[in-house]
Point group: none
Chain length 251, copies 2
Amino acid sequence: MLQNIRVVLVNTSHPGNIGGAARAMKNMGLSRLVLVQPKEFPAAEASARASGADDVLSNAQVVDSLEQALVGCNLVMGTSARERSIPWPLIGPRECGAKAVEHALGGEEIALVFGREHAGLTNEELQRCHFHVHIPSNPDFSSLNLAAAVQVLSYEVRMAWLAAEDAPAKVEKVDASELATMDEMELFYDHLEKTLVDIGFLDPEKPKHLMARLRRLYGRSSVERPEMSILRGILTETQKVARGEPHKRKG
Amino acid sequence: MLQNIRVVLVNTSHPGNIGGAARAMKNMGLSRLVLVQPKEFPAAEASARASGADDVLSNAQVVDSLEQALVGCNLVMGTSARERSIPWPLIGPRECGAKAVEHALGGEEIALVFGREHAGLTNEELQRCHFHVHIPSNPDFSSLNLAAAVQVLSYEVRMAWLAAEDAPAKVEKVDASELATMDEMELFYDHLEKTLVDIGFLDPEKPKHLMARLRRLYGRSSVERPEMSILRGILTETQKVARGEPHKRKG
């Protein structure tokens, strides 16, 4: 179950933090680490700080983009420190742990995403997340060390997992095979954007926050596969109409 | 109130861990650090890992014995990984945070005690504690990094403090006045249905369960008012396209 939960570190600068994150994960029973363009990896400092969690490091997957890191994921939660211009569903670490376990029990794939040491995640990266996770902290000194942030969320995952083991019946399970994956959602957003341009609702020169707002809306819904087929079907028909192609319209 | 809670590190070997602990404390709003016979302190590595929590380090008190570190304390809780021959009141991090805050609110002095990197606290030291705290961990890889353990307990202290202050984590709450009302949702479904007929996606003779499925999808989302405006705007443009009316389409 816990193997359904991957930790994704984006553009990590210090290999020591990768090692510290690996140790924190293994301590809490997590094992799947995905690194998006780490500055330096593998590295001696990572192994030193992993302090026995070498297996997590050696099995770590290194990829070129966040998109690749999220392939197959149904639920993505990303850490965020800053206030954002677009309000987004924001949860605390405890709710993050509970959601991760609830969805993992249903067989879904979950990603916990952590940004760069100093700059965090970009707005574009944050918009790929269903939820933003804020770790409560001292407002005057709010930036946690990366491995410490991984420790806190991994700890809350373990706490939720232990609670679920004790009371399995109480945790609502979601059946993963029914849900659209992240990559299917991306194809949908792409199709939606093109269609909105086709009907003239979206001006590609001045997109404003339109797609971000729509991502937020559909991201909240956990879109199911049959629903996705309907949405894609609507877009396809709308495009035909916009292009003046033959479509199903009755008189 | 949080200043009544001190963190005591016993015989720390690696100055980096002292720095990491100081940063974790300050992130969570704790400031009082007491070091019992650290191997090396002050140290450049401690300052580097503190990463801005220098004030916690410079105010740290260095003492010769655990006894001295605990002067004035009313409640002492010490971390313990191992099973002990003498049964002792054993609590988890969450209960530790709750107890610390509860007693600190009553004006008591509280100590959270952490042992050596490899050997933890001795039996004699553990017997000076009112409670032993066990951080739940992977039985096959149970030893947390010292700074990570400080992070977990400090985090639980902050969570308990926020709960007590009745200023829970700044979780963004959705203001009910922001949400589309039931009647606005009905107008939307009506508009959606007409548009789907216009583009030929919905055959009014054979509607099947299409609208029911779409109601279920959007009903799950708690659609907000600005989102509703976007959705209605998309439908209006789509209808113009379907009817061959002038619309905003570029090129």
